[in-house]
């Protein structure tokens, strides 16, 4: 099949600026050229049927008929060269280390605030800051055991961190199932390309969760909001792969500040909870009193040190968009190192000077809610209508604290199957970083792709798709 070349000035993962195929894409490019449309169409149908049968579906909020929808899966993998991955890996390790140090600091000594690197107000007035976490000693001083870091590649060819997800990052099951699907559909491809394996992720996750407690052989469970949650499939998948129980709030109870699960042989104590429920819903006695998802008394058990939550409570303050601009400073402050990964320049609208700039340059900028997630409630200046622009001007003036702005970054593109054939589409990357006895990750991550031509929104809730992500074990292939 023919591969459409990308527009001038964009960074394409497959073609270099002179329209030559990058070395780490050679095998894949040859395969694409050689394969015919009918075969690909067959394989796409096969993949759809397999995903349906496996039940790998997710729910889109706000769409009635969206229940049990498939996330579109693109058959063309996104390839990352060995040297790019080396750099990403050390950058991610450094960043997550610094973020965990930061979380420990702001719940204990406040060194970074005392040193004047971050304003006290930014930390302590942040709605995600949990005063109740102060002086709580956590094993290994770890807060974000599982972090998902969103990266994009800009025109200049460098990776930029777009967002840190330190609460309950999801999507890792797609990384694993996409790989499994590709190996099933195109075994011959893997014979010719040195693709680094990712399927040991559940084993690493299990190791990380056991290391989150100092007890020998702790009992680990996965706590899910239930089968109507959009990521339920992933919760069950990970629990099964790790060989631990998947529980709902009603399966647990607290007695004498210890957490137990209700089993057929009586109460069994739980030591580590890999929770996929937000802070506020974990315990109706201390958080949202209407929460039916949580466990009454859990917070008390947690404060007593009888159970470990992964991730810890109160991590949200560190992945907030208003804290994001300070991450490079955190790396310098705690680790005394220069940041390896770049941050996107960010205007903080709470600062009058920044706000003034943002209002003057609104059509060029992306405006996001400092607390938002999932691509909801954001403005993409260059795509916005006059009405949207004036609406956001009002919002910014009324509540500048709620917003940050960034330049419109052009996400890199990668060949993708679309109705018109194989065409370049924008994508991002979310590797998953595990912090236990050491910081580990599998070579790869979740690649999300915007399927609409020119679109920069890759969120699955907004119609984005996913791809298998190949990290090569050596640079040539």
């Amino acid at each position: 099949m023919l591969i459409q070349t990308p527009a001038e000035g964009l960074y394409d993962e497959l073609f270099d600026p002179d329209r030559r195929v990058r070395p780490h894409y050679r095998t894949l490019e040859k395969w694409l050229i050689d394969s015919d449309e009918a075969m690909i169409a067959d394989k796409r149908r096969e993949a759809d049927v397999l995903f349906q049968r496996l039940g790998i579906t997710f729910n889109v909020y706000g769409q009635d008929e969206g229940t049990d929808r498939l996330i579109p899966f693109d058959l063309i993998p996104r390839v990352i060269s060995a040297s790019d991955w080396q750099k990403l890996q050390s950058g991610l390790r450094q960043r997550v280390n610094a973020l965990n140090r930061f979380l420990h600091d702001i719940y204990h000594n406040f060194d970074i605030v005392k040193a004047g690197v971050i304003d006290a107000e930014q930390v302590f007035a942040n709605p995600q800051y949990q005063p109740g976490m102060q002086n709580l000693k956590l094993p290994r001083n770890l807060y974000s055991h599982i972090a998902g870091i969103d990266l994009i590649r800009h025109n200049d060819g460098d990776f930029y961190v777009l967002e840190d997800n330190l609460r309950c990052p999801s999507g890792v099951s797609y990384m694993l199932e996409n790989r499994r699907m590709m190996m099933r559909l195109f075994p011959e491809l893997f014979a010719s390309a040195p693709v680094a394996p990712v399927d040991h992720y559940p084993a690493l996750l299990g190791e990380t969760l056991r290391a989150a407690s100092l007890k020998p052989n702790p009992t680990v469970v996965v706590l899910t909001p239930g089968r109507f949650n959009s990521a339920y499939f992933e919760h069950a998948f990970l629990a099964r792969q790790m060989g631990v129980e998947i529980v709902e709030g009603a399966d647990l109870f607290v007695r004498k500040n210890k957490v137990f699960m209700k089993t057929t042989v009586g109460p069994q104590q739980v030591d580590v909870i890999y929770r996929r429920i937000d802070d506020d819903f974990l315990d109706p006695l201390s958080g949202n009193p209407h929460s039916m998802l949580g466990v009454p008394g859990l917070y008390g058990a947690y404060r007593s040190g009888n159970v470990v939550l992964a991730n810890a409570m109160g991590t949200g303050v560190a992945d907030d968009k208003s804290i994001y601009p300070y991450v490079p400073d955190m790396i310098r402050f705690y680790l005394n190192e220069e940041p390896i990964l770049k941050n996107v320049p960010t205007w903080q609208c709470r600062k009058p000077k920044d706000l003034k700039y943002v209002l003057e340059h609104l059509p060029e900028l992306v405006v996001k809610e400092a607390q938002g997630a999932g691509g909801y409630g954001m403005l993409i200046g260059p795509r916005a209508s006059k009405k949207e622009l004036s609406h956001f001007t009002d919002l910014l003036k009324a509540r500048p604290h709620h917003y940050i702005a960034q330049p419109t970054l052009s996400l890199s593109t990668c060949p993708t199957f679309v109705e018109q054939g194989i065409a370049p589409r924008h994508l991002d990357l979310r590797p998953f970083v595990l912090s236990g006895k050491k910081v580990q990750m599998v070579p790869g991550g979740l690649t999300r792709v915007a399927l609409e031509e020119g679109s920069l929104v890759v969120n699955s809730s907004q119609g984005g798709g996913t791809k298998d992500t190949w990290v090569l074990e050596d640079d040539q292939c």
Partner: protein, 312 residues
């Protein structure tokens, strides 16, 4: 294992067993209705409704008992919980709940049943292709059982799942036997042929016709049928066979020694194991079965109280 998971596995298996027996029942009734004289046809068609206790629900939703209405009601109608469509949906719902305790093969077999059921409902089922749907339902049930038997770890998850299967099966056998027996006995005086067909239908709906032929030969006698379906240990749907499984499963469940369910099941098992046809004849089949149904439901309830209910 989690009490909630045990409950979901138990009900998931019950529902899937129920889907199969419902398809068998309906299949036989529709076939028998073709043989029957017109005036008996309606009685014949109402058997599945009587066995499943859905006669009232049917009358509310449909005007008359025709084969097509019956097919729609028992297979596809989503307005009442007892249709095969809703039964499979409930099974899939429970399976989703215990996705973490199921092998990929078992989950996929149930998920695929549900996806295909949804398609079937869209296309609809007519009298002429109904038997394909019955075959499909039976085949899906076989695939589920095969996948469960062939791929699940022999832990309590497996035991609770199998308990669901056998509790449901024992319950169905007793109900079908009771209702068919009543109809067959009612027609004894009038015409021997009618009675013969009733007993044949009964054996077919429990997949035991061939077993009968092998053991008793071509003459179909009521007491033989009762003996076969109650006492014969080698017939997979007999009450004796179901109870033996239930007792063995309860023995294997962790920490079951002191539980009441185990005592109830052993007592009922002993009753059948040491019973004989004369005892059943003396007591009267209907009374015997009424008592059995009460006790099997008692065991099901006790299993739930022993292992799945929780008071902190």
């Amino acid at each position: 294992m989690l009490s909630r998971a045990a409950s979901s596995l138990f009900w998931m298996a019950r529902y899937l067993e129920r889907a199969e027996s419902q398809a068998r029942l309906l299949d036989v009734s529709l076939t028998m209705a073709l043989i029957d004289v017109p005036e008996d046809r309606e009685e014949q068609l109402s058997v599945p409704l009587l066995v499943t206790g859905t006669k009232e629900a049917f009358d509310e939703l449909y005007d008359d008992i025709t084969p097509q209405n019956l097919i729609d009601f028992m297979m596809l109608d989503d307005r009442h919980p007892a249709s095969v469509y809703n039964i499979i949906q409930s099974a899939r719902d429970n399976a989703l709940h215990v996705r973490g305790n199921l092998s990929a093969d078992v989950w996929e077999s149930i998920n695929l049943s549900w996806l295909e059921m949804r398609e079937l409902r869209k296309t609809g089922v007519t009298e002429s292709n109904a038997s394909q749907i019955f075959d499909w339902t039976r085949a899906r049930s076989h695939i589920f059982r095969g996948a469960a038997y062939g791929t699940l770890l022999r832990t309590d998850a497996f035991h609770f799942l199998r308990l669901g299967t056998f509790i449901e099966r024992a319950d169905t056998t007793a109900r079908v036997l009771d209702i068919r027996h009543e109809m067959a006995s009612a027609s004894v005086g009038e015409q021997a042929t009618r009675s013969f067909f009733e007993w044949t239908a009964l054996l077919h709906s429990l997949a035991a016709f061939e077993a009968y032929q092998q053991i008793y030969g071509p003459n179909i006698l009521p007491l033989n049928v009762a003996e076969l379906l109650i006492l014969e240990l080698n017939v997979p749907r007999s009450l004796h066979a179901c109870l033996r499984e239930i007792v063995a499963l309860l023995e294997q469940i962790e920490n079951g020694e002191a539980r009441k369910a185990r005592r109830l099941a052993n007592s009922l098992f002993a009753n059948i194991h040491y019973g004989d046809r004369d005892y059943i004849a003396e007591r009267g089949l209907h009374e015997y079965l009424t008592d059995f149904l009460e006790r099997i439901q008692g065991i099901a309830g006790q299993i739930q109280r022993d292992y799945m209910g929780w008071q902190i």
